[in-house]
């Protein structure tokens, strides 16, 4: 309703009444304006300075960015993000999709299975990391388990191998997030129009064909939103690395978030931290903005 009535201004009380809504929104909006937009500008500015241990506010141009892209640790972190991100997203979507389709086959005990698949989402990444660190630890975990079955020469030491540590992140992250993808797909599958499937069955299509040709294509929006959410998670991943590999061995499994944290709070390289944070923001926006744009456009046309 339209309470924005200029004619109705009659004394302070009335003016206040007509603008009450704005007064109520103001605190939240100002907080967001300052703590989100203001802080982004602040970090952005800092990335153009030579700040080290303490912020310095002299403008120095893109110096920090040039330096950033020459740092081997940053390059390694970014490469790790690419490897970790693409595997994590692909496997989580594949697991989630398969589980949802299988769970949608009138499964006995579906409720219990769903609960089991999804519970990791309720847990902190730190707990996940702690648990998987123990499971993947060569001396105590899976390696020892398989060896105790009689396979004396079995080796599984990815956690402490600089070339493979990043893959352990994938194992734990998929464990945490794929149940959630499953929930998204399952909700969408339950929404597929049953008449289409009946019609296809009457046309003589087999179950697998119905899924490939009819159902999966209608799930395109779910693929897309899962992709966006998982990408977002991958770029923000920080806790899991800290708890599972500690970024190691060495800093072989750092992700950009770890790089940023180390530079800002441990190594007195605030300028580098700020520049890396801005790159992370840009990466997220590069994924999110086109997605939101297409979503909103679809809504307008639909």
């Amino acid at each position: 309703m339209d309470t924005n009535n200029q004619n109705a201004v009659k004394g302070v009380g009335d003016w206040f009444r007509w603008h009450l809504s704005k007064f109520v929104v103001a605190p939240s909006f100002l907080m967001i304006l300052f703590f989100v937009y203001g802080f982004i500008l602040w970090t952005g500015y800092m990335s153009f300075t030579k700040s080290k241990m303490l912020p310095i506010y002299n403008f120095e141009g893109i110096l920090q960015y040039v330096k950033l892209w020459k740092q081997p640790t940053w390059l390694a972190s970014f490469e790790n993000l690419f490897v970790f991100g693409s595997l994590f997203i692909a496997v989580a979507i594949a697991f989630g999709c398969i589980l949802a389709i299988f769970l949608d086959q009138k499964i006995r005990g579906e409720g219990a299975l769903r609960t089991i698949y999804l519970y990791p989402m309720a847990i902190s990444f730190i707990v996940t990391g702690t648990a998987w660190k123990w499971i993947l630890n060569p001396g105590s975990g899976i390696e020892k388990l398989v060896q105790s079955f009689g396979f004396e020469n079995f080796e599984f030491d990815w956690l402490v191998d600089p070339d493979y540590a990043v893959y352990t992140l994938v194992i734990a992250a998929v464990w945490q997030a794929s149940g959630f993808v499953m929930a998204l797909f399952l909700a969408a599958l339950r929404g597929v129009d049953g008449e289409i499937i009946k019609a296809a069955q009457l046309d003589g299509a087999s179950i697998s064909r119905i899924y490939m040709v009819i159902i999966l294509p209608t799930l395109r929006p779910v693929f897309l939103s899962s992709f966006v959410i998982l990408t977002h998670m991958a770029i923000k991943s920080f806790d899991l690395v800290v708890a599972l590999t500690g970024g190691g061995p060495g800093n072989a499994s750092w992700l950009p978030a770890n790089f940023m944290f180390e530079m800002t709070f441990r190594r007195n390289q605030i300028g580098q931290g700020a520049a890396s944070a801005m790159i992370m923001l840009a990466t997220v926006l590069a994924i999110i903005v086109p997605y939101l744009y297409s979503e909103l456009r679809e809504k307008k046309h639909g």
Binding site: I32, F35, A131, A243
Partner: protein, 295 residues
């Protein structure tokens, strides 16, 4: 849809094999998901000898909760040996006010943005919503500086402020999307009946909001309890939340490495959100999908 994909074709041998295959695969996945929890629980009940001689999936000979009491009140976190207990209470003291404040703000903002729309309300909503998407690394440094200026650096109230601010976009989103579907006529009728802005909110909108309040409480509580980044960035020593303490406990290298204690501590850290999930799973899933799909 499950009804219509009911394999209406004749129950052939192949069909039976297919069913077995489906169940087998579902069971294998169930094992993948449940195994870490079993390992955590069983390891936390073993003593160190059992851990050394047994393997991952071997069960404890007897239920032994020594590691639990040790993790709760004696384990060393850095140089102080207080167990998780004080950090657990820190997390609670941080999460409860942050959840309540962010929900109140989100509810009233969502209400104002939908039911008393002023020019530009949609733009303001979109700008608030943007807060859901930023990687928090981009605000860490200014926040650390600002908390210092405000005199709440390394305090629980400081963390409450941080969680309120960055939870607000989500709570506003939840309530706004809920209130959009409540008919405007209700507000018009109440206006004619003589109810004002706040009366309508208290007497009509809030009583109708119970489902979304539950969803938002669960979402916010899970997010805030499980947070590590803010805790690690803005607090140190005795003011840290439990997730940070757990990580420090696990990485404290003084003395013998007591894996059973690590696992007991992990279980305690996970317990509150796990309980919420078990008892209110339906709302938890709804929050996840609402927050994630639309956010």
């Amino acid at each position: 849809m499950a009804d219509s994909i009911a394999f209406t074709s004749d129950r052939t041998l192949w069909h039976r094999i297919g069913r077995i295959g489906i169940y087998t695969l579902l069971a294998v996945f169930a094992f993948y998901y449940i195994m870490p929890l079993i390992v955590i629980v069983s390891t936390s009940m073993k003593d160190l000898d059992e851990i050394r001689t047994g393997h991952l999936l071997s069960l404890p000979a007897q239920i032994n909760l020594d590691a639990w009491t040790f993790a709760w009140s004696e384990a060393c976190i850095g140089v102080t040996c207080t167990g998780l207990k004080p950090y657990f209470w820190n997390s609670l003291a941080m999460a409860v006010p942050a959840v309540l404040i962010s929900i109140m703000l989100g509810a009233i903002t969502g209400y104002a943005l939908t039911k008393f729309r002023f020019r530009g309300a949609n733009v303001i909503f979109a700008m608030i919503l943007f807060g859901c998407f930023i990687p928090f690394q981009v605000i860490l440094l200014p926040m650390a500086t600002s908390l210092g200026y405000l005199g709440v650096a390394n305090t629980i109230p400081g963390l409450v402020l941080v969680h309120v601010v960055y939870g607000l976009p989500f709570t506003t989103l939840f309530f706004r999307n809920y209130y959009v579907n409540i008919p405007d006529d209700l507000v018009k009728a109440a206006t004619i009946d003589g109810a004002g802005f706040f009366t309508i909110f208290w007497k009509i909108m809030l009583p109708l909001s119970l489902p979304i309040i539950v969803v938002t409480i669960i979402w916010q509580f899970t997010q805030i309890w499980n947070d590590f980044l803010f805790g690690a960035s803005f607090t140190s020593g005795g003011n840290q939340p439990v997730t940070v303490a757990l990580n420090n406990l696990v990485n404290t290298t003084t003395g013998v490495k007591r894996y059973n204690v690590d696992m007991a501590a992990a279980l305690m850290t996970a317990a509150p959100t796990l309980l919420v999930y078990i008892f209110a799973g339906r709302y938890f899933v709804r929050g996840l999908t609402a927050g994630a799909v639309k956010g």
